[in-house]
Every structure is written in C-alpha cells, then in structure tokens.
Symmetry: C2
Subunit: 339 residues, 2 copies
C-alpha cells in the first residue's frame, strides 16, 4: 500500500471562467489511523456542477471551498484499513472523500461513510443514478414538479446524471418527457437509450424565439413541469410554453456560474401562468434520501434506469475533466477513476 496520498487542492479562486491553474496537485503523507478511523482507497471521484459554486467567495447556500484545502466531492471506494468496529477491509463505501486518492476519516460520525451493496449495482452508480445526482432528480421531480400522468415534463442537461434520472422517472410516472441537450449525439442517446419522447438540441437554436418554437413542437400540450439545470435562454423559452399551474424545480443555473448575467426576461409569466418556481438543495432533505435511493436502486438493479459515464483516468486528470464538465464536454455522469 502506498504511503503517499495525492490530492487536488484549490490554489486560487477563478475570475470568470475557471482554469487548470486554479487547482494544484499535492502529495500528503498517510498518517497512521487513530482509534475509530477508517482508511478508504477512493476508486471513483464524482465531478459535479455544484463544485463550481464552491470555488467562488461570497454568499451562497454553502461555505466556499477553502483555499489550499482538498476540493470537496463525493467518492466511492474500498476500506483498506480500519480501526472502527463497523468497517472492515474490503467493504465498499460511499462518502465525501474529496479530490484525493485516500480518505482517512473517523467513521463514528453518522452518515460520513456508508457501506453499499455492489452485488446488483455497480460501485460507480452510487455517485450517479443511485447517488446524489439521482436523488437530486428524484427530489425535484417528485417533491416539486410532482407530475400527474399525462403531463409534460421538460428537463435541461437531459443526458447528464441528474437530467437523465428526471426524464426516466417522469416516464415511469406516465408523463411525456422532453429533454434539452447539446448536440445530436446526446439528443439521440436521450431519446433512443433513455427513452425520452423527444430531445431538443439547444445548440441549433440561437435565440429564444427559435427555441420556443422547437419546444412548441416537442410539447404539443404545453409544459407542466420543468427541471432547471441551466438557466438563461432555456428558462425564458420554457416559460413561454408553460401551462397554467406549471412547476419549475430550480436545481442549477450552470449558465451563470462564471458571473454572467442570466436575467429571467419575463417574470410576469409566473403570474400570468400561476407558476410555482422553487429552488432546492438536495442535501437539505436527507430525510427523503432513503425513499429516493430505494426507488433509484431498484430501477438501476433491474436495468430500468439507464445512465452513461464519462471516466477520466487518475487524480491528475480531475481539473481538466471538471472544466470539461462545465462546458458540457462530458456525456452522462463525469467520474475520475483512481484505481
């Protein structure tokens, strides 16, 4: 076993678009375990859009990522050493291990490390469809949009880990599911593999008018629910096609992460259409995770919830992979494989 832990720390805060120079690879010595601690070798690191927000200073729903410290992030891995009665070497676990090869953690704190079953569900899925992204899609769809069978649900970033779950869960509830994604390959995947009814390539639509027209064609009965991952022009276009009492679950506004203004052009449509627009953060609703994970795990184990992964190789590749994710270069869940 190695005695060196390679880590990525936040070296500086981005001004506008982040670059690889905002990150730094460092090596730390692996100290011996204290009583109660567990050493996990991280197999996969999860890269997620929310991490971009943490790189900024200033008011947000979460504390900023401290400079010089290991970037936060979800991980799955295997226990390699344990001084905790609840964990033994060989256990597959999920946790917030951060951008590093090893996680040393006191596992007595409830929830800090969860054992997972890899008999029917691949380990990496616990970072995607059966993890935070899947639960995020589940929460916004079931708790905010709460669609009835026959309603139309639209989701942006539809080929991603969150968006893919939203659409498939909507289909399972008898809804029409319409995605938005960037490029013909992603759109074909969303329809042919994930089973959405339609998918719009937003890159083919330079303005709101054009996109709104495409939405009209894809949503002949209007839009009852929208799961927002992107913000900006897409939200404007969706609002033009919203039905009375439409619900918008606001999960991400990736188009404004670098500080670009992303105004909502016509908020009066919230009134005209009696819409409900609600922001949420899935980690504030831990009481619903067991219910969500049960449904998601069952669907993945039985092959009914499909997903795709883009896998970068090795901890040093994490910053570049993360920057690619922010530009939509990934296809499905973005992971970094460490073992």
């Amino acid at each position: 076993m190695s005695t060196v832990n390679r880590q990525i720390v936040l070296a500086s805060r981005p001004t506008g678009e982040p670059t690889v120079d905002n990150f730094k690879l460092v090596e730390a010595a692996l100290a011996p375990l204290a009583e109660g601690e567990v050493l996990v070798r991280n197999h996969y690191l999860s890269l997620d859009p929310y991490m971009r927000g943490r790189m900024n200073e200033g008011k947000s729903y979460a504390q900023p990522q401290p400079l010089g410290e290991v970037m936060i992030g979800g991980t799955v891995g295997e226990v390699v050493e344990s001084r905790n009665a609840h964990f033994k070497p060989g256990d597959a676990v999920v946790g917030m291990g951060g951008w590093q090869e090893y996680l040393r953690v006191n596992a007595d704190q409830r929830g800090v490390l969860q054992k997972v079953d890899t008999t029917h569900i691949p380990l990496s899925a616990y970072l995607g469809a059966v993890g935070m992204p899947g639960v995020t899609g589940w929460y916004g769809l079931t708790q905010i949009i709460n669609p009835k069978a026959g309603e139309t649900v639209v989701v942006s970033a539809a080929s991603g880990a969150v968006g893919g779950a939203v659409g498939q869960l909507a289909k399972a509830r008898g809804c029409r599911a319409v995605g938005l994604a960037g490029g013909p390959d992603k759109c074909a995947y969303v329809v042919n593999e994930l089973g959405f009814d339609a998918c719009i390539d937003y890159k083919q639509h330079p303005d709101v008018k054009s996109l709104s027209k495409a939405l009209k064609e894809a949503c002949p009965d209007g839009i009852d629910g929208y799961f927002e991952n992107v913000g900006g022009m897409i939200l404007d276009a969706v609002m033009l096609r919203a039905n009375a009492f439409a619900r918008v679950a606001m999960c991400g506004m990736i188009s404004g992460y670098n500080g670009e203004p992303i105004p909502m052009s016509a908020p009066q449509l919230i009134l005209v259409n009696r819409m409900r627009v609600e922001g949420f953060i899935v980690s504030e609703h831990m009481e619903l995770w067991p219910q969500a994970l049960k449904e998601l795990g069952m669907l993945v184990a039985t092959g009914k919830l499909k997903y795709r992964e883009t896998v970068a190789d090795g901890i040093a590749a994490a910053p570049q992979a993360f920057l690619g994710l922010l530009k939509g270069k990934n296809f499905g869940k973005q992971l970094v494989k460490l073992v």
Copy 2:
C-alpha cells in the same frame, strides 16, 4: 328612477400607456326585467390594477375585455327592482356590475349577486378590505407566504387595498411588516395608521443598490416573505435580502402592464436562497373566500383592519381615476361613487 344607464365601454386597445381615449361613455336604455332578473343601482364601482391587463389582447389568464362592451369591474349597490324571489328592493348587494350605473342580471346563477350586511361594515368596504382586494392579500399571505410569528414580511404598494391588508394580517400573525409605497404621505400612513413596522418610499431610491440598502435597514433579520404587486426593480432588491426558504407571492406586476420589459435580474437567487416564487389569481380559489371574508369582515367590523379610500365622483370620472390608479395617484382603495 332613470330609464337611462350610463356606461363606460372599451373603445380601443392601448398601445403602451392607456389614455382616456381608450374609453367611451355611452348611454343605454334600461329594458324591462325578465323573470329571475334583478336591477341593481350601483353605488360604488371598484377600480383595480388587473383591469389594465384585460385591456390588452393576447394570452393572459383571463379573456381580454371585448371592444365596445362595458368595462368589467366589481360593484356594490342596492336592488331597485326584482323579479327574483331571493332579492327584494333595498337589498345591499355586491357583484361584477361593471363600469355602469345600473346592473341588470339574472340572479339565479350562483354567486352572480351576493347580499351583504351593512350594519357593521360600510357598503364600500365590500369592494376593498372585505372584498376581492382583501381576499387577495389574505390568500397570498396565508396560503403562499404562510409566515410564522417573528418572520419578516414585505409588501409593495403597501398603502393600497391589497398591500394594506397584507401588512395588517401579517402583524396580526406576529410578523414584522415592512411596506413599500410612493411618497412620504403614503409611508407615514402605512406606519402610523396601518401599524406597519416600517415603510420605504421607493421614490427616494433610484437604483437597486440604494433600495436594497434601505431594505437591509428596515429588515435587520432579512426577508422571509414578499407580496409582489409591482415587479421590476423592487423585486430585484427584495431578492437580494431574501432569507433561505423565502416565499414570494406574485400577485401583480403593475410596472410591466404597458409592455415595458421587467426582467428579474438574478433568478439564480431563487436557487441560492431556496426560494419559492408563486403566482396566483384569487378568483381561482373561491373555496377559500368564505374563510377569508370571515376574518376580514370581523377585523373591519371591530376596527382592527384599517383602510383608506380615494373616491372619484360619477361614472364619467371613471377613466381618469383608473389612469391615476395605474400611476399610483390614488391613496388606498380607488372607488367611483355613482350615487
């Protein structure tokens, strides 16, 4: 009794700001009553911001006001003739009588005409605090904002019929109530007579930054609920001071009624603050009116819910009074006195 009914019809649709030329005074003969019909002499006509929306063509939550027909509107009056067993001359009634001196209506249709008690509540109050505006404030406050004691509720157009009710109902629930109104007289009234904790004169604040600073001072614990009557810069400023899980009841966007763009500058704050922004139309929630009117009527009858009225004289004065209302020239509920 007169045999002539003077009416205001919509003569043309406004392009931008409406003018008196969009309206026309006409005289109609009063035909004899058919079986089931009631003739009401309208004592007061209600003027409300929603009527501006009806003057436009195009998609909205309601049908546009047809050209050449009597402008819609709530009225209170007295039955002067009846061929309906449920109504007799002398009955005080509230209905949607429109901008005219007399209403002839088949009163068998449920809800078209309501008898009201004027022993403890003035007749005109049924168009304001104990009518549609009061219920509007009640609905947005209790069903959308639903504040807990100790929370801070902000309302725009605070000296108006809706806003005044929102703040006083919030105070009755143990909240801090902060108003926004135009000019020192209205602000003094909101604090000294209506009992709000503070009121900001938005005319003193040329930009979002300045208004946001004033809100910070008036709301030292942030904003938990906002009742939106106006839109535009005020909404932007409020969102900058919103607490986590703040609720916005979107009732009116008067600043955009003439087609001006009124973008929401930073919708990402809905996500950052996990806000809920919800539009509503009070006429879609008739099942709650009895409960609302019971509370409002009791508060008005016992002098605990205060309001002010601006009264224009005679049907011919209605258009000018309505245009003044849209510019905030009224002080409290805008009425037209017809008798």
